[in-house]
Amino acid sequence: MSESIHASVSTEILNIQSAYDFVTDPVHGAVDLFIGAVRNHHEGQSVQGMTYDVHEALAEKTFMEICKEAQKRWGDIKIYISHYKGQLDIGGISVIIAVGSAHRAESFEACRYSIEELKKRSPVWKQEHYEHGPSEWLPGHSLKSGAHG
């Protein structure tokens, strides 16, 4: 039986084809692919690039948990999550999530679930680099509610 989950942090440029290839399967008729990319503006400021800081061990553990949750909710799906660590220019790919499933509904829903959970729970931070002014770390979601217990 082939693996059904890929969860990684990468300092190499993320590869869309690798994500697609991982989740395709003869029994699957749908693949949904989410790609996060660096945009050139934020709240009226011109952005030149982004640095992504990541706690790799905890991030990969969180990605794996999210993938398992998605499989529990949507059944027989293959799921791929990879997040970039390092600096990217405008248009650079920061995250790829791919989900393969028998029918499109499961793929769409599991992919949306995964990116929303990733943004709330994964130890990843963004530092925006502006055309005018100093770079800034962006605010985010506190992990205080995630303390194990």
Binding site: K119, W137, S142, L143
Partner: protein, 81 residues
């Protein structure tokens, strides 16, 4: 009472203070006490209290107790994607 060594790796907005910070705490210190000490070491940085301390496998609770030399990470609010 003897002391233990605490090594804290810094992430995100804490990077302005360097890669990591080291200090000592009494054996049996709680994570809450470590956060308070860390805040003082980081010039009163208030972000510490919106952040969590973690080891390489889990986020730790404020009442967790440290009884040996420990490597931790301080994780500020997250914004991946």
């Amino acid at each position: 009472m003897s002391d233990i060594s605490i090594h804290v790796k810094l992430f995100g907005a804490f990077r302005k203070f360097g890669e990591s910070i080291d200090f000592s705490m009494p054996v049996g210190s709680t994570i809450a006490a470590v956060k308070k000490a860390l805040q003082q070491k980081l010039n009163g940085e208030g972000l510490v209290f919106d952040s969590v301390l973690a080891n390489n496998s889990a986020i730790l609770r404020d009442h967790d107790v440290l009884d040996k030399d420990t490597e931790l990470s301080i994780l500020p609010p997250v914004c991946g994607g």
